[in-house]
Amino acid sequence: MAEVPRVSAPKAADSFDAQEFIDSHGDRLLRSAYLLCGNETEAQDLVQETLIQAIKSQRGFRGQSALYTWLHGILLNLCRRHHRKQKRIVYDEELILKEICAPDHAGDLDQDFCATKITQAMQQLSHEHREVIILRFYENMKIEEIARQTGVSKGTVKSRLHYAVRCLEQFIPKEMNLFVSGGTNHGETS
């Protein structure tokens, strides 16, 4: 995802093209939102709200960070608010774990299966842990950038990352061998 070009800030309302703005950042934001909330419909709603807020408050962007980073900050705030609203829903974690770690598909592990299992495992993490994993491994942010984006110290980011990786390790089937180079056997084809 790092290869997506960073677009410069909109200078003025009259020269600002909302269509171009949405085309440049909409899909990328949607993918990040999908990983954050694990549901495409919710991700579409969150990105819709993010882009509306961003376009309405485009003058608030001061150019201190990349435009996408600023947009992603708005998305993170909306995701947190959404997550707080959803907190009342209680899942039966044991049932989900059984479903995730069921070895019946272990023989025909393919790329899509691995990707789906990892996304499902991501949903078992706490919101803070999921956030740092996505910022680090999907958005390719440095520790310092994650600290700035999430509003916590670098030490906290490192600690969260450490525990998030350990938790993720528990939730991912061991047959996938994520920690061995080429373990999921899908690196070369993507």
């Binding site: 819709q48 996304t119 440095k142 920690f179 690196g187």
Partner: protein, 184 residues
């Protein structure tokens, strides 16, 4: 640099955020220590697997046409009435969904407002607008006189007894009566 330090500085090492001296130390340690070399390889393999899985899982996603339409319709300029309705509508929805809570809230609000209007402090009951207003009752002995009268003129007075009555002194009521006792 030992293994513990290296593991602690691993994220910065991967970010290339270490100083030149620290980076040289870390590189030297990795070359010498097999455990840390394996830990580094393990971390990089994990990161690569995650990236590829995330990309694969999200590669077909794009904004729906209705999402785009919603964004543009939200950005269209509206009239005053429509804008006002957009602000009022959430409140009406809350009232519609939670009538009991809304009723309880309105009742509490009504009690609060009526309490603030009708409540009067006990110290404010004598003279309106004056502070530190108080009344002291002091028992005072008085004498009872019998007057002898001649041609409608009082010529003599004889004390026939005494009685005790309360004398009230009030402060800040009126300057003319403040120092004069009032015998009940």
């Amino acid at each position: 640099m030992n293994c513990e330090n290296f593991n602690d500085r691993l994220p910065e090492y991967l970010d290339e955020a270490l100083s030149a001296a620290e980076k040289a130390d870390a590189s030297e340690h990795v070359q010498k220590c097999g455990d840390c070399r394996r830990a580094l390889a393990r971390h990089e393999a994990f990161a690569k697997s995650l990236r590829l899985s995330f990309n694969r899982e999200t590669q077909g996603l794009s904004l729906r046409p209705e999402t785009r339409r919603n964004i543009f319709s939200a950005l269209e300029p509206r009239g005053v009435l429509l804008t006002a309705w957009a602000y009022i509508r959430p409140f009406i929805e809350i009232i519609w969904r939670q009538p009991a809570w809304t009723g309880a809230f309105l009742l509490c609000l009504l009690l609060l407002i009526s309490g603030s209007i009708f409540y009067r402090h006990p110290m404010k009951n004598t003279v309106k607008g004056e502070r530190n207003n108080y009344v002291i009752n002091v028992p005072l002995q008085t004498e009872i006189y019998v007057y002898r009268r001649q041609n409608n003129l009082v010529v003599d007075a004889v004390v026939t007894g005494t009685s005790i009555a309360d004398a009230s002194f009030s402060e800040n009521v009126r300057p003319s009566t403040s120092s004069r006792p009032h015998v009940n």
